[in-house]
Symmetry: C2
Subunit: 167 residues, 2 copies
């Protein structure tokens, strides 16, 4: 049998070329708040990579700033069916899956959830909205969330810097 | 700031202890078929890991046996709200998210999708059913799928072996 041979030298697929500015490993810090919880700070790492196919693979994890213990995580994929339209599919370890779509203008992405589904025991999340702005090697995002009966409002914001070149 | 410090020495969280038999890196081969496509063979790697929290992180990728080029991939999380009940949330790079739930008996898991959502440009998948049987270091799975107007029927089956100890 042939083993897995990711085409590391493969060019970025033309379909996701408009998202190539996101490629790499990003690290930084953020702050979270929500009407139902105490505000908190967190460390974060985001990795966006590709294998030459028409999607980017996305993985994210956050941790406590005081002792590095893991907090949240997300994994999924980014697609770009047109140069100005972005589709994102994500899984959350809280038992939630998210489909978000939106617009790409230059290096800014604005996404709104079009579908959220969850397992029987997961907390209810009804909407997620994301805005991501990249300037060179700095990535800033804001995330709004509607959950547990609270209407859509600010939940997370973070500033990250690219710490590794595109994978 | 404190960097990410995964508690590598953390014990498996008691909530996912019934799934601990899945932990590790698995590799093997499978065969795929569907009424709308030619049958095909593939190589596959599955990784199930944990960070001491009440979920397992899951990542899967398949490749062509002839040249190793990547085919499909999935990422997501496994939860175990009771010793006999399993919840799985997954993202597919085809623009699909999946929530599957089912039963755990000894080292066999039977899952059926409870929700599937997709982006505007993704192909329609309406149901996925999975059966996973582990005996020691061998993992066998069968996956049935209903998609593009075809009723639920066999799509994938593969046999993998554990190539790395639990992460």
């Amino acid at each position: 049998m042939s083993g897995y041979s990711p085409p590391v030298s493969a060019p970025v697929h033309e379909a996701v070329m408009p998202l190539a500015f996101l490629l790499g490993r990003w690290a930084g810090e953020g702050e979270g708040s929500y009407p139902t919880i105490e505000p908190f700070l967190y460390g974060e790492e985001i990795t966006l990579s590709h294998v030459g196919k028409p999607f980017l693979a996305y993985a994210q994890r956050t941790w406590r700033l005081d002792d590095g213990r893991p907090l949240h995580a997300e994994t999924g994929y980014w697609r770009c069916p047109s140069p100005t339209h972005v589709e994102v599919v994500l899984s959350h370890p809280t038992g939630v899956v998210e489909v978000s779509e939106g617009s790409l203008r230059s290096t800014s992405v604005v996404l709104s959830s079009t579908a959220i589904a969850r397992t029987a025991t997961a907390k209810e999340i009804t909407a997620i909205a994301r805005r991501i702005d990249v300037e060179g090697d700095q990535l800033v995002y804001h995330l709004d969330m509607a959950a547990v009966g609270v209407e859509l409002c600010g939940h997370l914001q973070a500033t990250l810097h690219r710490v590794s070149a595109p994978l």
